[in-house]
Amino acid sequence: MNLQHRHFDALIIGAGGAGLNAALRLASADYRVAVVSKVFPTRSHTVAAQGGVNAALANVLPDNWHWHMFDTVKGSDYLGDQDAIETMCREAIPTVYELEHAGVPFSRLDNGKIYQRAFGGMTQNFGGDQAARTCAAADRTGHAILHTLYQQNIRARTHFFDEVFAVDLLRDDEGVALGALVLDIATGEPLVIEAKTTLIATGGYGQVFRTCTNAFINTGDGMAMALRAGVPLQDMEFYQFHPTGVAGKGMLITEGARGEGGYLINASGERFMERYAPKARDLASRDVVARSIVTEIREGRGCGPHQDHVLLKLDHLGAEVVHQRLPGIVDICRVFLGLDPAERPIPVFPTAHYAMGGIPTDRAARVVAPARHGPEEYVPGLYAAGECACVSVHGANRLGGNSLLDILVFGRAAGQDIERYLSENPNHRPLSASHLEPALARLARWERQGDGEPVHVVKADLRKLMEDHCGVFRDHATMAQGVEKLLALRGRVESARLQDHSRTFNTARIEALELDNLVDVGMATLATALAREESRGAHSRVDFPERDDVNWMKHSLFWREGDRVEAKPVRTKPLTVESFPPKPRVY
């Protein structure tokens, strides 16, 4: 095959907030940057983030990055790395100002400063009164940020490869990242993008669960590429269920709705969060609220004919607040439920939402993995940022408003460190045919003709399996059974076949390649969840209900080879302040 090769200083896979923020920095510094995205960039899932981005600007109430750091460490159930969390909370402030300068249309206060709202788990004075820390553009903050970053990248002349699917990473014999084999979706032609540095910024994998808030494109492509390249994934058992997805459908109802004063009620109209989190109530952290909702329903206090959801009440806020501060939520309710949330409560249920785990990185977004000299050696030239990465600032549970922050801060950090790397490594390294073989073989596998199961059937079964065997509450027997089923399903993927082998914009072929990725990240999630015999953050075990700091205050690492699970220590030492020791987590 006559493969075309293109050469860039930096290859960025994924055009969400992390990828675009890295690209902006590099393109502005006149590096040759290629951004590969399987969808047009403004269709990346960052666009769907609603509620806001945290930064201790103190525009509404007194605030301090150190308080933000405490909340994040506590929210992580003490599994977050405190050096990374300190970095994120400090950098939050200049990052939000930078975005505002770039054009993000933040909502404003009367004095012209950025509007900030209350969000779950955010406090003043290390666990005191509720903070107002979440900077918002109505409830379209992700849209506002993603479009602004794309626009600034147009200005900086970033080179975009739109609707191009990354098949696999390329690495040489010494493990140095050399770029990726990609597939132009419109033509079906493979292409080699050789780069001195590669940043994986492909986002999450919520599509592995049947009911999720994630877009169709969120299939864990970057994470699975890392696994296939021999890099482990970290903390994959920590998958967040957002407390308020639209019941039975999954669309996200932002935590900002509760930040503006909305609250949850059960079938008897009781404001039940008071029982589970007497102080923070509906603004306790997401793992706490999600568990509380599921508990209410399990104990028979669910709403509706099937008693299978609870209600989110906003009508007491008045039509003006609801329509001005939450216009996107009004749209979703009108279109999908035929109701106006300013008049009637919204049926909600916890919905698969966000991966705390991912490709292990350090604070500079460099990918790190255990090697000869310790658990965190750099994979040269390889970076990861955003939801596909685990830096780890979210630990066992992510606080609302910290995901946009994570992608922006560490996307930028990636750009910064890539500049440094490029100044030290100015030349392309040689790429030989043998480095391309595994990636080409992966493409060729779906060329096989003949009978076999269709991809969509296997994918539907996978999503059901993950929902049934790895949900909000977990136990050994259910998950062990899940692993057995997933092993069987992996065999089915081997014999699955494409019926349509055409080249021009073959979406079926892309979905087949995505299925490979989903199965890999699904196994990483189930295997690590089964191994962790404690309850921490989003990982809630019925058979091990307590957090076990003696045995389990450590990160998990999953390798694809042999489905192996190992552990590495949590970095409990921050950079400049005292560390926050583990404490019982009450809200």
Binding site: T42, S44, A48, Y97, H101
Partner: protein, 230 residues
């Protein structure tokens, strides 16, 4: 429910055809879900889609003669048989997938980014709520292309007329009290085509899935040009 979809695969077909499928409609079902079921029946049927809730703008298409997003179009609201075609006026790549490159080119042509000439403050650039409110109805555009591909002026002069989506963005930055490139932006829109080919046909307003009003934005640009000229 009977759904007729537009089919064209350049590797196989010399001309497009319509193909009928029968889909069992469920209460609350959206068109996108029906198209996914069709895709499951025949995986060679291609269309773009992603978020499923009207924020990513991937699944713009022409349904019963009207441009819309499949994910927020309820089947129950559609007249049978449902006729699903690609967005009009764009080259078809395959089935419902059209080539949007010219649309994006027009978007880039209006310099859709904030331009500041003064040095930046250490904190945010202050913007009172009344000034910020002017951006409501402008910044929410998701670039789905429903408006521009419904605009006859855009069909006739796609390389010269910027089209409603791009012009909405032009006004979004002109209206932003933080932007300092007003003259430059207005000068770039001079001439008979880029802006003035808009004849206020209002198709864009009718089809915008986000309820935005590009015609009004275009009117505002014209007003501002007039003010400047006086």
């Amino acid at each position: 429910m009977k759904i007729r979809v537009y089919r064209f695969n350049p590797e196989r077909d010399t001309k497009p055809r319509m193909q009928s499928f029968e889909v069992a409609a469920r209460p609350g079902m959206m068109l996108r879900e029906a198209l996914l079921e069709i895709h499951a029946l025949d995986e060679s049927f291609g269309f773009r889609h992603s978020c499923g809730e009207g924020v990513c703008g991937s699944d713009g298409m022409n349904v019963n003669g009207v441009n819309c997003l499949a994910c927020v179009t309820a089947l129950a609201d559609l007249k049978e048989p449902v006729e699903v075609r690609p967005l009009p006026g764009r080259p078809v790549i395959r089935d419902l997938i059209v080539d949007m490159s010219q649309f994006y080119e027009q978007y880039r042509a209006v310099k859709p980014y904030l331009i500041r000439t003064e040095p930046l403050p250490e904190q945010e650039i202050p913007q009172p709520p009344a000034e910020r409110d002017r951006l409501d109805g402008l910044y929410e555009c998701i670039l789905c292309g429903c408006c521009s591909t419904a605009c006859p002026s855009f069909w006739w002069n796609p390389s010269k007329f910027h089209g409603p989506a791009a012009l909405l963005q032009a006004w979004r930055f002109l209206a932003d009290s933080r932007d300092q490139a007003t003259d430059e932006r207005l000068d770039a829109l001079e001439g008979p085509y880029k802006l003035f080919r808009c004849h206020s046909i209002m198709n864009c307003v009718e089809v915008c899935p986000k309820g935005l009003n590009p015609t009004k934005a275009i009117g505002k640009i014209k007003e501002l040009m007039l003010e400047k000229a006086v």
